[in-house]
């Protein structure tokens, strides 16, 4: 990463509005949001439900477009693009991690991870190589042929992280990434994500849990479609918390449960 990248903002949003028409009602989900995110930041977007944080994430993730305002992603204006152009920007710039993992069922971990490369026109052997490398980074190379239903929740989320990484997108957007996980696996997943921040990725966490927001270096709080708080902080280390946990108790053998 060059010094220029460090200085230039990765995300630059100005006066973002998003208005929905819901029947006769006009819903103003975002009412003038200004937000700048630099390379290598880890930022948590917080807010109660209805605060507009999901809408903001959709727009940041190029899944949606603002009704008003401008959005520059890595220097490019992406606020007025076609559906097809948006898809391309998503593919190259953003990796998504969802609360419900969103892996394709009946499809191996490897194929799930390969998927973004499919749409970038990467050849099959290269796809395979890069997907294996991404799975290796999340420690699941040996499970590459497992289907999601053969993996634990934590493992599924790690596959999803590998999928977000494989295209080398600079931004990872994680929407409640630990919402469906227990404490231990939450720590594991967060420590993996923090590892990528250290390696230069920009991570945007969308959450309503203060514990999770504590792992970010910056917390932005929304209410009623506006940013009401934007603070820098020293992030907690998920790896340290993980180490502090008592060693995992072995699962009770199935026979005893029965």
């Amino acid at each position: 990463m060059s010094a220029d990248d460090e200085k230039r903002p990765l995300i630059e949003m100005k006066g973002i509005h998003r208005v929905y028409q819901m029947g006769d009602n006009v819903v103003r989900a975002l009412r003038g949001v200004d937000l700048t995110v630099r390379h290598g930041e880890s930022i948590a977007i917080m807010g109660t439900s209805g605060s507009g944080k999901s809408t903001l994430m959709n727009i940041m993730g190029c899944l949606d477009q603002p009704s008003m305002g401008s959005y520059h992603l890595n220097g490019r204006d992406v606020s007025r693009l076609s559906r097809s152009q948006l898809a391309e920007v998503r593919g190259r710039m953003i990796g998504f991690v969802f609360q419900s993992f969103n892996l394709l069922s009946r499809t191996s971990a490897l194929e799930n991870v390969e998927m973004p490369l499919l749409y970038q026109g990467v050849g099959s052997s290269e796809r395979h190589k890069r997907a294996m490398a991404a799975l290796d980074k999340v420690g699941l190379a040996d499970r590459h042929d497992h289907h999601p239903n053969q993996l634990s929740g934590g493992q599924q989320q790690r596959v999803a992280i590998a999928r977000a990484l494989v295209g080398d997108a600079p931004v990872i957007m994680a929407d409640e990434p630990t919402g469906n996980l227990d404490t231990r696996t939450s720590y594991e997943v967060m420590s993996i994500l923090q590892g990528f921040v250290a390696a230069g990725k920009t991570i945007i966490l969308v959450t309503h849990e203060a514990d999770i927001a504590a792992y970010a270096s910056r917390v932005v709080t929304l209410r009623d479609g506006l940013i009401i708080k934007d603070v820098q902080q020293t992030p907690h280390s998920a790896a340290e918390q993980l180490a502090a946990l008592p060693p995992p108790v072995d699962d009770v053998p199935a026979a005893e449960v029965a």
């Binding site: 959709n58 899944l63 949606d64 559906r83 097809s84 898809a87 391309e88 998503r90 593919g91 190259r92 990796g95 998504f96 969802f98 969103n102 892996l103 394709l104 009946r106 998927m115 973004p116 499919l118 749409y119 970038q120 026109g121 099959s124 999928r163 295209g167």
Partner: protein
Amino acid sequence: MSIVTTFVLALRALWRNKVRTMLTMLGIIVGIGCVIAMVSSGQGAQQAVKEVFQSMGTNVLVLTNQSSRGGPSVGAGGSSATITWDDVKRLSEPGTVPTIRVAAPVLSARTQLISDAGNWNTSVLGTTADWFEIRNWKAAQGVVLDADTGGSNTKIAVIGQTIAIQLFGDSASGVGQSVRINGQPYEVVGILEKKGQGPMGDNDDTVIIPLKTYQQKLEKQGVAKYMRGQLLISMTGDDLAEQTIADITALLREWHKLDAAAEDDFRIRNPAEFAKAQQDSTERISTLLALVAAASLFVGGIGVMNIMLVSVIERTREIGIRMGVGAKPMDILTQFLVESLVLSIVGGILGLAFGYVCAWKMSDVFGWKLFFPMDTAIIAFAVSGAVGVGFGLYPAIRASRLDPITALRYES
């Protein structure tokens, strides 16, 4: 995304839902199969009709007495016969009717044949050497009648293969042996080539003896003035039937001194015309059947659309995920279109095989020649492809228009 990858993805998606894929394909298989079976067997039936009439000889007319079909039960003693041997002789002479190439009188009666090995009841024909030439019928063993033997009153016989089997055990034996026809011994001089079914039944179930012999041994009243049979007329070329019929009619009316008001006392049949009518009706029926088959193919296509629509809804989340990781609307459209295309084309190929088996079975049962023209196969392929695209397009467009945010949150 490369086209190969797209096809691999489509195959995988279809493989994941094997039962549903098979059931949907079944619609296409039955549809294409029916079209193929109907077109193929329709052509087989038409060909069969055509061959039956071709076995009579081409460019042929048949002159008979007016009520020859009515038979002896009507007028007593064959008083219905009006065509004289003199008429026959004059018509057969070159130049009388310029479009007549050659003519052969044929007399026939059912009699009992007896050989050492068996006996058989069949029709015996008395005719001349020309008859073999008109019907383009050669001997498989021995010889047929020639100008000498055909004009003589020797007791020789040329037999069809059915007769050979019945009297001598197999289709190739009997030449040189003796057969009793109506109690008289005849020498078998030839066995005809196999001809199969004709319009009046088995062509090969026939015995031919010289005309004179017939008249002397089988004609009840000996040599008569009237010809109690038919005159097989061969014309000099195609499309002369109308002209020839008009000429013969004019001459016979003149010779029979019929005034303008009188009806013809003879009949001229044109087997080609009859054949054409037969063929037309066969063709109409097979077109109708092909239409019904096409309707079943259409229903199969609706099945494809139905399943693809269900599939789009079921896989809404998958579509959302794919869009999330960078699939363009066009990628999604292509994916679903290729899926329905693969579904239809694989169904089409299986349907082709199914149709072929049906056509084969039918040709076996009905004794048609098996017809499997390549153009039908190509059409089936193109049609199933068109069905896939035609019925898959709407579901594919619906898939591509999904909003990624809604699709990602979709709970199935």
